[in-house]
Symmetry: C3
Subunit: 139 residues, 3 copies
């Protein structure tokens, strides 16, 4: 059983969903591991991870829009306002989605459905540098 | 350390929560693994996974109803409407719940609470064939 | 590859977020495992787990408040009311957040961001005893 780690860095340019499937696959494919568990953690509380449809970009638009309506950027709604109107909604959206995803690798292939892509969901308005910790354990 | 895989197939008959705890347990119990990690992924973006109460069916009714009100099947709310009025709400409900669950096995027993059951949450109105990837790593 | 387990018990005093990062770290640090996967499961369906900001307590206040408004304690909204007005909202909040978190350990350090803390999110009004199953697999 081997263990390998990498931190994949994503530079985000404001709110939205950023597909990182290829970055993950590129790294996984280089490892000499046929079967194993891949654990991905975003090391932040105002961005999150989702597995979503990789076909129609309208799905990503609607997702962003839905979460904006659910947790509006309105300082009157929150006590935590010192980091900007987008910060508390970002924490809420992060709690509603995921900080981490665990995937399986079988016969050198990541177990994902045909229409599934891995997305970093940036909830802040300004650009940010986000760290995606990747940890693969297998043989 | 051993690794075993199975794809458990669920045939859904429209929206609702489908308990698959027994299917998972049946398979896990046949493996010669005393302690390990079980990773379950649903390979779709319009169905999801939740761990919920396995006692009162009213809980399942209320869950379905809550998510329907939160993400209504109303094409006027979304840009992505080509796959039917239930598709974009399905993606949203999937993002709000989980695509995957990681569980522990100790002394041949799956670590679940007394009232916890494993559910596939089907968000589409029509019947679907859903794949639940199971991956057990242990010894 | 070694596997170790512990059940960490949390006594909650009603609704709110309880930081258990130190309890997890105390236990992880005692194990002779440099690199590995830590799987944490809450064995209940009316409490859940979130990774959230550990700096400003107002964030925790706003989170609790947001989820209370999203899934109100109002028996008229639900069929499942026999366990009290807080029980069905608790199941909903549990489905919207997480039952489990999987983390990575690298070079004896838990991979968490600077501002990330591990929280038990108690959704019931009365005090409860909550079990957090911890399972560490590594070498």
């Amino acid at each position: 059983m081997k263990q390998v780690f990498i931190e994949i860095i994503m530079e985000t340019k404001g709110q939205g969903l950023y597909n990182f499937t290829d970055k993950t696959l590129d790294w996984v494919n280089k490892q000499k591991i046929n079967n194993g568990i891949l654990n991905i953690n975003v090391l932040h509380t105002s961005a999150s991870l989702v597995i979503q449809e990789n076909a129609d970009p309208d799905v990503l638009y609607d997702l962003k829009n839905f979460f904006d309506k659910l947790a509006p950027m309105d300082n009157k709604l929150y006590k935590h306002t010192t980091e900007g109107k987008d910060d508390m909604p970002a924490h809420i959206k992060s709690a509603l989605t995921n900080n981490q995803i665990t995937l399986s690798i079988k016969d050198k292939k990541l177990k994902l459905g045909t229409w599934q892509g891995l997305y970093l969901f940036e909830h802040r308005l300004e650009k940010h540098t986000r760290i995606l910790s990747h940890h693969l354990m297998g043989s």
